[in-house]
Symmetry: C2
Subunit: 191 residues, 2 copies
């Protein structure tokens, strides 16, 4: 009756770390606590992530920040706007679910993580008729807005919780309004 322990894998380590960050915050993610959660000594982690905590944090960013847009179907005229609206909403939701890693996404850390995401967005715009340069710039504008606005939202939600609820902000509505501003602006750059 030896209680077979789940084997330690890179993925399981990163998922457990994400669970700690979501539940207790980034500041409480330590190698020792992560080891406890995995029922292993902290030092065992280094066998799967040789670069240690650095590699762990890179893994968290990759896990959260990579969400490519669907570039496959129906790239008709009005389609791209609705497609980007849907994608942006999904991306915001993911960032809010893992708000603890937002500071990591913003750091110099793991700069390649967002490339797949940005590239797919650029492709959506290219298929919609944007010129190469405008598509690349547009993808950057959109993803910049989503990340920046969501960061404001996370901070704003924390603040208003202690204020009087009279001047509460409807963040869903505000995000959508800003998103529509960006999309409307993008439309004006279409030849």
């Amino acid at each position: 009756m030896s209680q077979q322990r789940e084997p330690l894998t890179r993925d399981r380590i990163i998922e457990t770390a994400l669970h700690i960050v979501d539940g207790q915050g980034l500041g409480r993610l330590t190698m020792r606590r992560l080891g406890d959660a995995l029922e292993v000594e902290a030092m065992a982690i280094y066998h799967h992530l040789p670069r240690g905590k650095e590699e762990l944090l890179d893994g968290l960013v990759a896990h959260v920040a990579v969400l490519p847009a669907d570039t496959s179907a129906s790239h008709d005229a009005g389609g791209w706007r609705e497609r980007l609206r849907t994608w942006a909403g999904a991306y915001r939701t993911r960032l809010l679910e893992h708000a603890g890693v937002l500071p990591l996404v913003v750091t110099r850390r793991n700069p390649t993580a967002l490339i797949a995401t940005t590239d797919s967005l650029r492709e959506v715009l290219r298929l919609a008729g944007f010129l190469n340069g405008a598509a690349a710039a547009g993808a950057h504008t959109l993803i910049g807005y989503v990340i920046g606005h969501t960061a404001l939202e996370v901070r704003g939600r924390e603040l208003r919780r202690t204020a009087d609820p009279g001047d509460a902000v409807d963040w869903d509505h505000r995000f959508t309004a800003g998103l529509d501003v960006v999309l409307a602006g993008l439309l004006t750059t279409l030849a």
Copy 2:
């Protein structure tokens, strides 16, 4: 000939900390190193910042993230667009100069720091003829874009440095292009 030491003040502590972050990165800002730079024992800092490192980081955010827009003069029709363009450029410049604190701006930390900035932006839009709700949302959209895009820029610059310089990004141009997209989008929400 007792060498009179500059007295320790809250401001001098925070400015010295900012200097360390700019020069060596956020990870190397420790209370002990900060004490060394101030030519004082680390524990002396607690006398001026009772909440310790938490308060120090809050101070850094306040120092960097607060940059109100000029709401004073000439709020004629086309004026607000140029005013916001100038302000956004200045804000981006400041964030780039202190890129090390960007992760702190994005964290839950010191959520009040951006309020003065956001409020002044909203006022600029209100004076330009935006309704209250649209002005508040527009301010959020703009500041979200600036923060998010600048965060992408910091990460992107680090990445491309090791890549072939053929596909280098003109970040100045890209920022301005995205900014114009946002401003064009804002214009469409004007009654």
